[in-house]
């Protein structure tokens, strides 16, 4: 029994050491805790697709196309870890962490952006620059854009199994294209999105060389399959397969988020210290052991947050801090029970075991009810647009509840058992336990 307890103790110690390492050092490719938009700043947009002008049956393709184009457009911004997600069948969620220039980002995502074809010119200073490829039609200067495509472009293979991207201009596009390509034979034609060149697999701008004058349909050669497919999606989506209307927006400046992190760290720290002080003053030695279990609890929960990873929002930290207060609940239940058992004349060791066994049903039932609420909150979070705070809170609280049951029961019991049979255990004042006076 004693030996088994010692083994458990060392296993717990190993878990604790692992958790601390996981928090401090990068592990499984995770460098740091993942922070939600409200803590690191950024943009959260939800767009509603308007299918009213679409042929029935093409909605899913339109959404996929729109998502592909948004993704490509966002890559131009160089955002780390952007999130583009389909919500339901007709909504797209876009999350851009850490982006400060909200307006630029929104314009780039927005539906109006078209792909623009540009030609190279030498400017006054002798540098090679890209300028919009224009043609004068009926006395008006017009820029060649993907808005003039007649049908969707598609990707195919030529006789030598080379990758080809087929496209076709509409009438006006054909006139502009005829003039532009006629002028640029042998020269590159760059493809730009919101003023930025599209980059190929090699990181260089995609700029096919014009081989001949194109007035109706043509092909682009020399792309890889991936490049061709992406470009095709982009060109097709550039024709706006479906209008997207913003229905929810949240932008938070990164500065504001930094304040919140400091403040919530402070709150967590003060909360945990107050709880520990209370436990030690009220329950003495068991309270001190419960405080150690609380440190174990905090480290394991943070490690889980980092490794899963759980996106920490302000509400999520609120859930975590709350769970600290609730984590000692199981210990309070057990210690109160221990005192009662001790008062009826049991030995300390027997009182400890009885305390744990008798408190179990109450611990189980009370934690299950909290878990039910968490699961319902997670459902609520998944069913609404502004899900981040609700889900963040529920997930951290649920993890907290599960880990706290383990730490309060297994960790505290193991530590207490280490003390039973030592000299310290003879000093019952350390346990703030009294025999019933009769």
């Amino acid at each position: 029994m004693v030996r088994r307890n010692t083994i458990v103790f060392f296993i717990l110690l190993a878990i604790f050491a692992f958790a601390v390492c996981a928090i401090i050092y990068p592990m499984f490719g995770r460098e740091e805790l993942r922070l939600g938009l409200d803590l690191q700043g950024g943009i959260h947009m939800v767009y509603q697709a308007d299918f009213s002008d679409l042929e029935p049956g093409t909605e899913a393709d339109a959404i996929e196309g729109a998502m592909a184009v948004i993704e490509r457009r966002i890559n131009v911004l160089g955002v780390t870890e952007p999130l583009i997600q389909k919500q339901g069948s007709d909504r797209i969620l876009v999350e851009l962490p850490g982006v400060g220039e909200a307006e630029k980002a929104k314009n780039i995502i927005g539906e109006t952006a078209l792909l623009e074809f540009r030609e190279q010119k030498v400017d006054e200073e002798g540098n090679l620059t890209w300028v919009p490829a224009t043609a004068t039609i009926d006395g008006k200067e017009k820029v060649l854009t993907s808005g003039y495509f007649k049908e969707n472009t598609y990707v195919g293979q030529g006789n030598l199994s080379q990758i080809l991207l087929y496209f076709e201009w509409n009438e006006e596009g054909g006139e502009i294209s005829g003039e532009v390509t006629g002028r640029l034979i042998g020269q590159p034609l760059g493809i730009f999105l919101s003023g930025e060149p599209l980059l190929g697999d090699d990181g260089q701008p995609i700029a096919p060389i014009v081989n001949s004058k194109i007035t109706d349909r043509g092909i682009i050669e020399g792309l890889s399959l991936k490049e061709a497919t992406e470009l095709s999606q982009l060109l097709n989506a550039g024709r706006i397969p479906v209008p997207l209307n913003p229905i929810y927006e949240q932008t938070i400046s990164p500065i504001l988020g930094a304040d919140f992190i400091d403040m919530s760290l402070m709150a967590g720290l003060i909360g945990i210290i107050l709880v520990m002080l209370f436990m030690i003053v009220y329950y003495r030695l068991p309270g001190a052991l419960a405080s150690l279990a609380l440190i174990f609890y905090g480290a394991v929960v943070l490690a889980i947050f980092k490794l899963i990873p759980v996106t920490l929002t302000l509400a999520g930290i609120g859930g975590f801090v709350l769970s600290i207060g609730m984590a000692v609940d199981a210990n309070v239940l057990i210690f109160e029970r221990m005192k009662e058992e001790f008062a009826t004349g049991r030995t300390l060791g027997a009182a400890i075991e009885a305390g744990f066994n008798r408190a179990w049903t109450a611990i189980r039932d009370s934690n299950v009810t909290t878990a039910i609420v968490c699961v319902i909150l997670i459902w609520l979070g998944s069913s609404i647009v502004e899900s981040a705070p609700v889900t963040g809170f529920a997930v951290t609280l649920l993890i907290g509840v599960l880990v706290s049951m383990f730490s309060a029961i297994v960790v505290t019991r193991t530590l207490l058992r280490l003390f039973v049979g030592t000299r310290l255990a003879k000093r019952t004042s350390l346990f703030s336990a009294h025999r019933e006076k009769k």
Binding site: I252, L322, V373, I384, V390, L397
Partner: protein
């Protein structure tokens, strides 16, 4: 020493009835002020480099056509401007106009919710609260299935919950009327957390009643409930205290967007502890003994006890 808690059940129940009544009156008279998540609209939080007087800002907004804009000053000197739903272009125009009048400004936060999203959120939040209540009722009934009348336990726990929720929302109705506090999703999250927390306390007391009934500590149901209450009293108070510590820390140090949540929790923990000690168990006795008169007649109940 033995406290007689259950003997004073008429008093506790009447106190609770008065509390609920006040809460309902506050809700009816003031109503809850829904935030943009529930009623749609936009909130723009900006920071001016120069000192700006709030009344002048209000005036400028009115000039720009935002007569209904609600302006609040945050603790850090930012302005919090709530308007009807703004499009991106309208927001830029608004910021430019304010910049022209009051000098350079930085946008700290912008949040915009369309009416479609708001309606969905209200709908789903109501479902969530209802499902939570039913889920807990079912679980408690199941957990106490071996007891006689397991349903009583579930219903009494739910009544204690409704008690807590009415009081919390009632206080927010008053705060809304006096200080312009709005309820948002964090409020709903807090209410659900209170539901979970309050039920947690109730379950601990009920668990002890279950155990003491099984052990047959006393033939009288009232005495069983009373000794169960007394035995779990220090646990209930201690757990509430530790949770209060962390909630207070959240309220004092983080505030801001989780202020709603922390305040709901603060009130909820206090009321929830009260209801799980004095409402749910005493109702159990009232139901068991069929003494419904205690819910209405305070003076007669008193003479009965004497």
């Amino acid at each position: 020493m033995m406290f007689d808690i259950t003997g004073k059940r008429s008093m506790f129940l009447i106190i609770s009835e008065i509390i609920i009544l006040i809460g309902i009156i506050a809700l009816v008279v003031f109503g809850l002020k829904p935030g943009i998540e529930f009623s749609s609209g936009s909130i723009l939080t900006i920071n001016f480099e120069q000192e700006v007087v709030q009344s002048e800002l209000q005036e400028e907004l009115a000039n720009l056509g935002y007569d209904n804009a609600i302006i609040q000053r945050t603790g850090t000197g930012d302005f919090f401007i709530r308007t009807q739903e703004l499009t991106s272009d309208e927001k830029i125009a608004l910021e430019e106009a304010m910049g022209a009048r009051f000098g350079p400004l930085t946008e700290r936060e912008f949040n915009s919710v369309s009416s479609m999203v708001a309606a969905e959120t209200v709908h789903n939040a109501i479902i969530a609260v209802a499902v939570a209540a039913v889920g807990i009722l079912l679980y408690i009934t199941w957990a106490f299935r071996r007891m006689p009348k397991p349903f009583h336990y579930g219903i009494c726990a739910i009544i204690a919950l409704v008690h807590d929720v009415v009081l919390v929302t009632g206080i927010f109705a008053v705060l809304g009327a006096i200080m312009g506090w709005e309820i948002n999703l964090m409020f709903i999250t807090g209410v659900l957390a209170v539901i979970g927390y309050s039920i947690n306390n109730t379950v601990v007391v009920f668990d002890r009643i279950r155990e003491n009934l099984r052990r047959g500590v006393h033939p009288d149901f009232e005495m069983v409930v009373n000794s169960s209450l007394v035995e779990t009293l220090s646990r209930s108070l201690n757990t509430s205290l530790t949770t209060l510590f962390v909630v207070l820390a959240l309220l004092l140090f983080v505030g801001a967007s989780i202020q709603n949540f922390a305040l709901v929790m603060l009130i909820g923990i206090i009321v929830g502890t009260y209801s799980s000690l004095f409402v749910a168990p005493t109702l159990l006795i009232v139901w068991e003994k069929g003494e419904w008169g205690r819910l209405v007649f305070l003076p007669r109940a008193k003479t009965e006890e004497a």
